[in-house]
Point group: none
Chain length 253, copies 2
């Protein structure tokens, strides 16, 4: 049984997973977050149609998963082992991390350190013997009333944190461009034209006699500023004003 | 169908979920992260033993889930609507957020703003009509080779980010203060009332005969979602619609 650790990305090690559906869902979560190396320890269930259905496009991860008899064997090639538990047990005497603390913790290792993230069974988690392999433990924060995540959900949270940390480590400059629009944002002049048009219509229908007219116009301008309409929006709204004015004129004639 | 928005935590809205197992798993993820309010829109599947099994201890979330026929009805009580998509579509013209950007984005709303997080079907996600209700869109970063998360996994990532942000936030009262509004933000229901009013007016003045009527209405809805009008804005605009209709009726007489 040869285990080739991926030198750049952690392997996911599932210890005694009971339900093949969870293994399939974990494979999908791994693939979503760019991980490929799955190791199954003493798997209770064979991987059948349910596992494959839940894996969706991640079947290659399932197909290439390694099965080993013991956690010791699974972890042999890894220089950094991280375990997961649902409760924070300070008596372990090793660092207890939140998921968000995992990427910087791993980043402190020399580049290329072969790393494994170990998850326990749906029932009972990892034993003290299992935890003895780990150099640090991650606990996912949960509401006290419902503290246990599904196995695949736990895999997702940790791999999501790694994925985000890796993605944001490199360029990250584009954040400001996030609200880019396909249509050109309307200019202040176009918005002014729309507001003038609306004001004319408001006068035509008697709104301008109100004491509140000036306040209402100011509120509409604030609303327009907040809305950041594009040129198409302005076109539609001016078209509506025009139609209303046309209908008013026609009925008067 | 009465929807009581939770004023302190977002509601999760699942639009056309196909598989009851995913609804159950989403309920579990919500409970893990301390959320309770689940709304199902046009649910394709009844919630049977599979949903309950996947929910584990979160059955109360399932049992109390609201079922409504339309997204419009589901969103009526909410003043802040966040949609989720698997790809970043810049043409939407609304803020595109990463999951980690969601908590600070929501923190800018006045405290207690009723908020909904909307997730689409396992197949096809949200339609453009669905997305028109949203003031911002969140896309979960994924590996390009496997870009689509399971529905319950997507629910987990967003609620996990909210849970972590809330747990690490110290007092948190100041973030919202900068953009706090004197007037209450309009609910989606109030905005729908305004759009119905505008649509009636558009029909009255002949706009509805255009091929582009449906598209124009959707654009107006998107604009309204982006503008985040307060109740006073809605009052003014409805007053304007009413005046125009009154003027039309008078000239006809």
């Amino acid at each position: 049984m040869e285990i080739q650790p991926d030198l750049s990305w952690p392997a996911i090690v599932l210890v005694r997973p009971r339900e093949e559906g969870n293994v399939g869902a974990a494979a999908r979560a791994m693939a979503n977050m760019g991980l490929e190396r799955l190791i199954l320890v003493e798997p209770a269930a064979a991987l059948g149609p349910t596992a494959r259905a839940r894996a969706v496009g991640a079947r290659p991860v399932l197909d290439r998963a390694l099965r080993v008899a013991t956690l010791r064997e699974a972890l042999a090639p890894f220089a950094r082992v991280i375990a997961t538990t649902s409760t924070r047990d300070r008596s372990l005497g090793i660092p207890l991390l939140a998921p968000r603390e995992l990427p910087p913790f791993l980043a402190a290792d020399p580049p290329g350190t072969p790393t494994a993230l170990v998850f326990g069974s749906e029932v009972g988690g990892l034993t003290n013997d299992d935890l003895a392999y780990a150099g640090a433990v991650v606990t996912i924060p949960c509401a006290p009333a419902m503290p246990t995540l599904n196995l695949a959900q736990a895999v997702l949270v940790l791999t999501y944190e790694l994925f985000v940390a890796r993605a944001t480590a490199v360029p990250a400059a584009q954040a400001g461009a996030a609200t880019a629009q396909a249509e050109q944002a309307a200019t202040a002049g176009e918005i002014d034209g729309l507001l003038d048009h609306a004001a004319a219509l408001m006068q035509e229908v008697g709104f301008a006699r109100d004491d509140t007219f000036a306040g209402a116009l100011r509120d509409l301008r604030r609303l327009a500023a907040r809305a950041a309409p594009d040129t198409r929006d302005v076109r539609i709204l001016r078209g509506l004003c025009r139609r209303v004015q046309g209908a008013l004129a026609k009925r008067e004639a």
